[in-house]
């Protein structure tokens, strides 16, 4: 089918750029618009697009269901862990200023870790939701 072929080749060409854009949005969230939530949803959207064009089984080869379900609590753990690290080093919960050699660098490192945790949880949850909905209809 000719139309199917155009979609397949076009999407195969486009997907690495979508992933690159998602990582750009995540890491440049401090200098421009962006941050963890947007990057997580774009990453999940990439996996969903791959699943729509090539089938859910092919998508499960690049993002296995076990790994995706493991990512969902891992992000919350990273976030809470950063907070508790502040607690263990002597100051308040979620106080990032003790994580590095001086206060502004510590807070920047804290923001970076927190956004990473949010990215992992959001992308894992959206992909797991899609897998759950599509498995039910088999």
């Amino acid at each position: 089918m000719k139309l199917d072929l155009i979609l397949r080749i076009g999407v195969k060409f486009l997907l690495p750029f979508v992933l690159l854009f998602a990582l750009y949005v995540q890491f440049h969230g401090e200098l421009g618009p962006g941050g963890g939530f947007q990057a997580g949803v774009i990453t999940a959207g990439m996996v969903i697009l791959y699943a729509i064009i090539f089938g859910v089984d092919a998508a499960k080869r690049i993002a296995p269901q076990r790994m995706v379900e493991f990512m969902v609590p891992l992000g919350v753990l990273i976030f809470a862990g950063t907070g508790v690290a502040g607690l263990l080093l002597g100051k308040n919960f979620l106080d990032y200023s003790v994580l590095a050699h001086d206060a502004p660098h510590g807070r920047e490192l804290g923001i970076f870790l927190v956004e990473l945790g949010v990215l992992i949880t959001v992308s894992g949850t959206m992909t797991a939701l899609f897998y759950a909905f599509s498995e039910r209809g088999r």
Partner: protein, 181 residues
């Protein structure tokens, strides 16, 4: 603003359309127009999130549920006068409430006074992050973001509990099968 009028037209379309697939597509268009309006209002982070979440994930989940349920909306057997009255009454009350808001876009609004000048002035000095929305979200108000991440986690766990596993075949004479898989 033209975009807001387009939004109102799309909403009337959603109310009147009966084909559920059309409703989902119109909801996606609504999301895109909302993201454009938010960019005009200088809310760039919010616009990116609304576009990605509303026109992306939300539309995909609605289409997946349509695939699972496969139905079209039935016509209403009775005229809905009481809900219309309730909705219009609530709208009139809120309009009366917003009458005393200052006009759109003035810089001496009260909400620009208390904490925000401190955030805008000190964000780079204290956290070295120029994007004020990210620094407020992850540092000054980081506890709210922890709660929000927990909400996403809980929703994911809830959906996995409800929908994991294959659908069992329904027999004709048994009315309900709501048990656990």
């Amino acid at each position: 603003m033209v975009l807001l009028t387009l939004l109102a037209v799309v909403t009337i379309g959603v109310v009147r359309t009966r084909n559920l697939f059309g409703v989902v597509v119109l909801a996606g268009i609504y999301s895109l127009l909302m993201a454009s309006v938010l960019i005009v209002l200088d809310a760039v982070d919010v616009a990116m999130t609304e576009a990605a979440v509303g026109a992306g994930v939300s539309t995909v989940l609605l289409l997946a549920t349509l695939h699972l349920t496969k139905s079209m909306e039935y016509p209403q057997p009775r005229k809905a006068y009481l809900p219309l009255f309730v909705a219009v009454g609530t709208g009139a009350a809120i309009v009366w409430g917003t009458y005393s808001l200052p006009p759109f876009g003035t810089p001496d609004n009260v909400i620009h006074k208390h904490v925000v000048p401190r955030y805008l002035a000190d964000s780079v000095k204290e956290t070295m992050v120029p994007n004020v929305v990210t620094s407020v979200l992850a540092d000054y108000r980081g506890y709210d973001t922890l709660g929000e991440t927990t909400v996403i986690f809980t929703a994911g766990i809830g959906v996995l509990l409800l929908l994991k596993g294959r659908r069992r075949r329904r027999h004709e004479d048994r009315p309900g099968e709501g048990g656990a898989t």
